[in-house]
Symmetry: C2
Subunit: 397 residues, 2 copies
């Protein structure tokens, strides 16, 4: 332990800076994770270069991403879908297809390689509902129809977004007959998702009596972590990203999460590990790549990301009136963790370049910053008159 100086320093330094920036962002009513990423940009190797990131830190960042997706899975209760299921599914599907096609088209127009175009496009599809839920919660409108459609669609959106990532990873990892391979990977990914959504929760239910009889302290938490790590490893083995296994592990335990009190404890692990992930995301971003041309591209990508979600998600609910369509569309625009992770996977696989990575980070930040004020505007009519005291809801993003 005595020779662990640099590692302990990195651990302490990164945690403090990430949380400090997070706190500042929270006070500005901006998402904390954007602050944590900014911390990485500012004090990381490409910024003030106050800290060097060694392999162990990247390893911890990777576990951070795994637990992040695990907790997102834990919160994704498929039961939320029952009342608005079909509508939400259409919203999610169109909200994935439109941004993907627009993003892919624009990247090809920019003369990027098809692989790079696919990755950036895939990073544009996943809505991060944390910001939306927080704004709607602040306005006390979580119970109105558009809000319920959004929350339901976000569930499908996460699942479909991760299936898309599997397909994309499978597609670019392969050589030769791409279409045959694409079909196989798609079937694998959808099969995995279906098994985890419908079969795995039943397995967990059957495990329940045995689990509660186990001698190990906190057996359900231990088993959930073990399954999360196992599925992450299995996902990589069959050619998907680790986080997909972690997400579906969370999903399998979502139903029993309240009973076994998994959520606050998985969150505690997450609170410790996730800042390393977001910080390292920022630390990988070289701001110097933003020349005039790239800034224009970044703005265009961000506008496309915003409009494509607005249209894609608004369209399926247009017959409920344009106001509902507008609300659903705007509520689905913020991007977040999943898109960032897609970009990071691409960067680590050497498929996307630093500029493309920068585009995704910029787009994520832009949509996340722009959405809340617009949401407050379009949902204002639904918000009940507020007492002077406004309860602050806190969410991961």
């Amino acid at each position: 332990m005595h020779n662990a100086d640099p590692f302990l320093f990195q651990l302490f330094f990164i945690f403090v800076w990430a949380k400090l920036f997070g706190e500042i962002f929270e006070r500005l009513r901006l998402p904390a994770v954007l602050g944590e990423i900014l911390a990485g940009i500012v004090v990381g190797p490409y910024g003030a270069n106050l800290v060097h990131l060694d392999d162990p830190i990247y390893a911890i960042a990777e576990i951070g991403a795994i637990f992040l997706l695990f907790t997102i899975g834990l919160e994704t209760n498929p039961k939320d879908l029952i009342s608005v299921g079909v509508t939400s599914l259409y919203v999610a599907l169109a909200g994935i297809a439109v941004p993907f096609l627009l993003g892919f088209g624009y990247m090809i127009l920019r003369h990027d390689s098809p692989h790079e175009a696919i990755f950036v496009a895939a990073a544009m599809v996943a809505t991060s509902v944390g910001v939306t839920a927080r704004v709607l919660g602040d306005m006390h409108v979580l119970q109105i129809l558009p809000a319920r459609i959004i929350l339901g669609a976000a569930v499908f959106d996460d699942i479909l977004g991760l299936i898309l990532l599997s397909v994309v990873v499978g597609l670019v990892s392969t050589t030769g007959t791409a279409w045959a391979q694409l079909t196989v990977t798609t079937i694998e990914a959808i099969g995995f998702a279906l098994v985890m959504m419908f079969y795995a929760p039943r397995v967990v239910r059957r495990m329940e009596p045995g689990l509660e009889r186990m001698s190990t302290q906190d057996a359900p938490l231990i088993i959930a972590i073990a399954i999360c790590l196992g599925l992450s490893y299995a996902a990589v083995k069959i050619g998907m990203a680790a986080i997909i296994g972690a997400f579906f592990a969370g999903l399998a335990f979502a139903e029993y999460s309240p009973r076994w009190n998994l959520r606050p404890r998985a969150f505690a692990i997450n609170e410790f590990l996730a800042p390393f992930f977001f910080f390292s995301m920022g630390a990988r971003l070289n701001l110097m790549v933003f020349d005039r041309k790239l800034i224009i591209s970044a703005v265009i990508i961000s506008v496309l990301a915003f409009l494509s979600k607005l249209m894609g998600c608004g369209l399926p609910v247009l017959r409920s009136g344009w106001k509902t369509a507008l609300k659903v569309g705007v509520g689905m625009t913020p991007r977040g963790e999943v898109g960032l992770i897609v970009a990071l996977v691409g960067l680590q696989m050497n498929i996307i370049s630093q500029p493309a990575y920068a585009l995704v980070v910029f787009m994520t930040a832009a949509t996340t910053l722009i959405a809340p004020p617009i949401m407050r505007l379009v949902f204002r009519e639904d918000s009940p008159p507020q007492p002077a005291f406004v309860e602050r809801r806190r969410s991961a993003m």
Copy 2:
């Protein structure tokens, strides 16, 4: 993430094996951590060699040790000492001096180097009260006088044991005028301990309103983790072991732990990380070093460890009758995490050899296994008649 195969595999594999062995040990009513260490011995590089441990795993094991000591600190409420303070202090002091002197003497007789002798002796001093608390809890005798003396003494014991470790680390890191340096280190260590015990909780108390006003989710947990990491780093900087900083960080927050609900969440982090620490402890142990001579030494060290605590801790309470002295003495015999960590620090600093490391692991396992049956015997007269249903208490060790 795609290239993270070996790391993810190690993560999953180690976690599962450690917890599996832990569960088997729990079912045999043995301490789970011994099972986790055994897992490392059995499937680790010196055993079946099913898993290779890379640097990131050791880094995680190190964070595991830090969080382990942090949670031990969180549980060490100085207020437990009030009723039996002075008696417990004497018990702890004599219970440290006698094992240290006997252990040091025996190692010197074995012709080990003084530095090695000091480390092994230091590893013999720290009582692990987890096993004792569990046995006494099972027997419903936690409220009788000897039990309260034991629990109080264990608090002093942890603190004094860690001060001793600081002094030992300081002593062997230095060259030249050892006695002057020893004095400085001792004063430093005691000063650090006193500041953390008496001043730090007041700082935490003063931070309280600010903390609860912070925008960051779970601000108290985040601040506690940040301080834990910071003090761990600071401890290394001034020449102590990282875990000492972590322990005192826990101690500073012990008073507010229930209010801020820190314990279950720090425990969750610990449940994830600690198995990597114990597994890697086992994985470092080469059973091949146990030749006939070393086995004899290990048995002698274990007997010395048992008898020295029995006498050292029994003596100060002898005037309360020999039965009380016997109960207190036996209850203080199990060694645990702190001793193991002392040995590990020595191994990492290349001060103790594989055989000396093996001695400490053997001694820890032996005292932990022998103490419970003897405790059941000597405390039997105090145990109220049991209903058929015996509530099982679970503890970290």
